[in-house]
């Protein structure tokens, strides 16, 4: 009876993971396919689609733009979220429904709507959108994720550590630098990494708010797909997928990040 339950659980989980991850393996496979169309039956192995990415300058330059936007917006999001998480955890507040609703709002409002609002705000102010607009909306959109991860860190943080540092002569900022931040390092790194990737692969916000100078990689992919889909796009996607997997595994091994406690 118990054995059967375990076997069924294994089978079910295998199916679920197949469903969740399966489609991406077809992208991986297609990126190595010698066939020039997408989708296509598998013909043979080649690396030429990866080589071809280098011929498309717009992919490389937009990847750099994406990196910049992601770096700045994640730094902002994590900083804001860390401060908020500190206030929530240290204040030991009773569940404040309005506060948690406000802090979760960026997760619940569709990104398309958020970006449309910023677009209209910009035109109302007679300004063009661009790098900093992207950064702002990416950062706001990422605050709930960063907050979630830093709050998990604070849940295991003993605030007596700060009191101990203070009683030993450390000022508020020194206590943060010497104790709070180092102890919570892994949550901060995890928060930053997740925000970085979420921002790097984000399409809807960038689609609305990017100007010609700040076209991000997903926007370039989007406009590429509008005209044609070929295995080169699969190669770009495969790189993104492998990077995502690699970064997650590094987080697991080096920083022992736990998504659930």
């Amino acid at each position: 009876m118990k054995g059967m339950k375990v076997t069924l659980s294994w089978i079910y989980l295998a199916l679920i993971y197949l469903f969740i991850l399966g489609p991406m393996f077809f992208v991986l496979a297609a990126s190595f396919n010698t066939e020039t169309s997408f989708p296509a039956a598998f013909e043979g192995v080649t690396l030429r689609w990866y080589a071809r990415i280098w011929d498309h300058q717009e992919f490389l330059s937009s990847a750099w733009t994406s990196t910049l936007v992601a770096l700045v917006s994640s730094a902002v999001a994590v900083l804001a979220a860390f401060l908020a998480a500190y206030a929530i955890s240290r204040g030991n507040k009773r569940e404040n429904a309005w506060l948690s609703a406000t802090l979760a709002a960026p997760l619940l409002v569709p990104q398309v709507v958020m970006s449309l609002g910023m677009l209209q705000l910009a035109s109302l102010a007679g300004m063009g959108t661009g790098f900093w607009w992207l950064v702002a909306v990416h950062a706001v959109h990422n605050i709930p994720f960063a907050l979630r991860l830093t709050l998990t860190g604070f849940a295991r943080f003993d605030f007596a550590l700060e009191d101990a540092a203070t009683s030993l002569g450390a000022g508020r900022w020194t206590a943060w630098r010497e104790v709070t931040i180092p102890v919570l390092q892994s949550s901060i790194v995890a928060g930053f990494t997740f925000c970085f990737i979420m921002s790097f692969v984000n399409l809807p916000i960038s689609l609305f708010l990017a100007d010609t100078a700040t076209t991000t990689l997903p926007v370039v992919m989007y406009s590429y797909i509008e005209s044609r889909i070929d295995p080169m796009l699969a190669a770009v996607s495969a790189i993104l997928f492998v990077l995502a997997c690699a970064i997650t595994l590094v987080l697991d091994n080096v920083f022992r990040i736990r998504l659930v406690d």
């Binding site: 009683s167 030993l168 002569g169 450390a170």
Partner: protein, 356 residues
């Protein structure tokens, strides 16, 4: 001159009063326990002395200097926390040296003082270990060494033994007392455990609902509590309700339910006043034969028996009153079974009378 002086300290949180008009002074080199049930304000008092909370009114003086509004990092007060609060990312030596580093001492001085502090708590050999590589007792001693390394003017300890198991707790108790004497530092120790307070303290300050009930040496606290609250909190006590009938010399007679009279030490309470008469469990004797003479002799029925090893506790029924007697588990003392008839008696000197 007292080392630490608290004058009329009051602390409110929102609407509740955590500490109410508390005054307390502690002499140099003294070991004082703040004792009371949880929520009595003892931890808040400690945190105000340490500087983590600011009193709404009143002053705190240390060595004659007003420190009421001084930030905690400038107070030079060593603190030992219930959770130890050792920095998990620093070794034992780095933990102990933290306060010295904050004081910007030269490297060599830090090293030698860290070594001295670790030797004091007999942990020189774990200097390079991280907290999670040490046992609870070791962590506790590193925390103590860390608090002492800054040569504080005062050592505060907040329930430092409550996370240790019973045997270790007894050892650490001795250890803390030894170190405190060796260093000659004034110490305040917060606890809710009366045995801990009785064993450790030069003086015990009993707190209840934010107020200081009594401060005295352990014997006085136990044998001559200042009021019913202290009496009830320290040790196990029988409390009998009644009213003063008359007074003869040092002895007051109290009328209790069932038309009985008991006698206890007079406190100059006028006749007719409702009072509580208190006798500790172990001061109540139980015997089969009626004692030949004396006060407070009542026939009773043994109703319950609890075997505690070192003593046996009997619940007895006097008709309208229930009383408990704790009898040493020793061949010199009689033993009883539930249902037996017996006589309860106690000396008037062991019975204290308080206004209700």
């Amino acid at each position: 001159m007292p080392d630490l002086k608290l004058t009329n300290i009051t602390k409110r949180f929102d609407k509740s009063v955590a500490v109410d008009d508390l005054s307390l002074s502690i002499e140099h080199g003294e070991f004082v326990c703040l004792l009371g049930p949880s929520g009595c304000g003892k931890t808040t008092t400690l945190r105000m002395i340490a500087g983590f909370e600011t009193a709404n009114s009143g002053t705190i003086e240390l060595d004659g200097m007003d420190i009421t509004r001084l930030p905690p990092q400038k107070r030079d007060i060593g603190l030992v926390f219930q959770s130890y609060a050792l920095f998990p990312h620093k070794t034992a030596a780095e933990n102990v040296g933290f306060g010295l580093k904050m004081r910007k001492l030269p490297r060599a001085d830090i090293d030698s003082q860290v070594k001295k502090a670790l030797d004091l708590v007999r942990l020189g050999h774990v200097a390079e270990r991280y907290p999670r590589q040490m046992s609870g007792g070791q962590q506790q001693r590193v925390a103590l060494a860390r608090a002492l390394a800054i040569r504080p003017r005062l050592l505060l300890m907040d329930e430092p033994l409550s996370n240790l198991d019973a045997k270790l707790r007894d050892d650490m108790r001795e250890e803390i007392r030894r170190i405190q004497k060796e260093v000659g530092i004034t110490a305040i120790f917060v606890t809710h455990d009366q045995a801990e307070a009785l064993a450790l303290a030069d003086r015990i300050a009993v707190m209840s609902e934010g107020r200081l009930m009594q401060i005295a040496d352990p014997t006085s606290i136990y044998e001559s509590p200042a009021n019913a609250t202290v009496d009830q909190f320290i040790g196990q006590v029988n409390a009998l309700q009644g009213s003063i009938a008359n007074v003869e010399g040092h002895i007051a007679h109290v009328a209790i339910a069932g038309g009985r009279y008991i006698s206890g030490l007079d406190r100059q309470i006028p006749a007719g006043t409702p009072v509580l008469a208190m006798v500790k469990h172990e001061r109540v004797f139980l015997s089969r034969l009626q004692p030949a003479a004396g006060e407070n002799i009542f026939p009773c029925q043994v109703e319950g028996r609890t075997y505690l090893g070192a003593s046996i506790v009997y619940r007895c029924n006097l008709g309208d009153q229930a009383m408990t007697a704790a009898v040493p588990n020793h061949p010199a003392f009689e033993q009883f079974q539930p249902g037996e008839a017996a006589f309860l008696h106690w000396a008037s000197a062991d019975c204290r009378i308080f206004r209700q």
